[in-house]
Amino acid sequence: MATEDHSEGLVFHPMDQFMVKPLFGGDTVGMLTPTNVTLWMAITVLCIAGLFVFGTRGRAIVPSRTQSIAELAYGFVHKMVEDVAGKDALKFFPYIFTLFCFIVFSNMLGLLPKAFTTTSHIAVTGVLALAVFITVTAIGFIKNGASFLSLFWVSSAPLALRPVLAVIEIISYFVRPVSHSIRLAGNMMAGHAVIKVFAAFAPLVLFSAVGVVVTPLSILAITAMYGLEVVVAFIQAYVFTILTCVYLKDALHPHH
């Protein structure tokens, strides 16, 4: 790390935790350079494999604890896809489950001290959201042909309003991947940055008398934020997944 010169006072680097750095030294980050992104994505993959492959190795009728968690996650997403997007969306279940697992594990692993949160980067969430957007649009056209465009033609509205609504619908359709990705990255980044700011205040007691009050307060705030972030980590994965299901439903059944 850089010069964390405590003798000078408090050190604020709230955004440094998001820096992409090569794992084995050097300054340049090429496309194939193993970076902290690589490390934490690999850990994510290993954790997912650990839970869903190693955890279910017993194939027990009466499940072990890990197998219960794997089954719960499976049931949770499976039910979500079925309820939100319909039965015919279940063939996309592995794809949606992959997204959910990646996001929820990245978010949770990102909460470990010193961890790098891959989902706090717009490059990552943008790719996820664009993948959903492109896939869903392609499915929409493949399944429904040109009648997919009726998604933008609100037939329940008065005829005069329909062209206006169509413009709004089209704009909102294309804004989807933007909001989809920024929502996740923004939530992750903001929470971690806030924790880091509070963390910077925590050692104040070492430098100043005000610290007697500020240090316990900031530690309390870190604890509270951390609890909130655990909830947010899960909720954002849930929101991303359920929005994917909603978009998929629009693609499969575009008629309002």
Partner: protein, 191 residues
């Protein structure tokens, strides 16, 4: 990424320094590592690798296994419930059979008791009849003996009377005719 980026240390008491250094920081990486376009290719590459790995792990191994486990469990529950239902029916049947057997056994027992009672009664009646007959025979014999004794006694009385009469007559000094005395005594006894 030069180390100067990390040097944007600020102290509470050096707000001006902080502002100046933060501005320098912002100039270098727009303040947010998220907007550093030079790392995008790297992140996207590794993201795609990770997603493909996760997708294959899940869709080839984990998801078929979990859905298999869930289906197995559902099947097991269904078959267990059916088996339980069957066993319950069997238990009801067995109870019925048991009750039937119990009723049969009771009826059998009652029959056997009645038979035994009738047999005992018959034996008793027979024994009573035999005893009655024996008693009657004994009574008849006794009556005969009494009759005999009475007859003997009458005879003895006549004899005694005759002898006594002969003696009395002799005492009076007369010679009694034994035959006449006997006839007289007899006549007297009959009278």
């Amino acid at each position: 990424m030069a180390n100067t980026t990390h040097d944007t240390a600020a102290t509470l008491g050096h707000g001006a320094d902080h502002a100046a250094q933060a501005a320098g920081h912002a100039a270098q990486s727009a303040g947010m590592p998220q907007l550093d376009l030079s790392t995008f290719a790297n992140q996207i590459f590794w993201l795609v690798v990770a997603l493909i790995a996760i997708y294959f792990i899940l869709s080839r191994i984990a998801l078929p296994r979990i859905s298999g486990i869930l289906a197995d469990r559902q099947g097991k529950i269904t078959s267990d419930l059916a088996a339980a239902e069957e066993l319950k029916a069997k238990a009801v049947e067995a109870e019925k059979a048991y009750n039937e057997a119990l009723a049969n056994a009771r009826a059998q027992a009652a029959k056997i008791i009645a038979e035994a009672r009738a047999e005992i009664q018959a034996d008793l009646d027979k024994a009573m009849a035999k005893a009655d007959a024996e008693i009657a025979a004994k009574a008849a014999e006794s009556a005969k003996r009494i009759e005999e004794i009475r007859a003997n006694a009458a005879k003895t009385v006549a004899e005694v009377a005759r002898e006594a009469a002969v003696e009395i007559v002799a005492m009076f000094g007369a010679q009694a005719d034994e035959q006449a005395v006997a006839a007289a005594v007899e006549a007297r006894l009959k009278g």
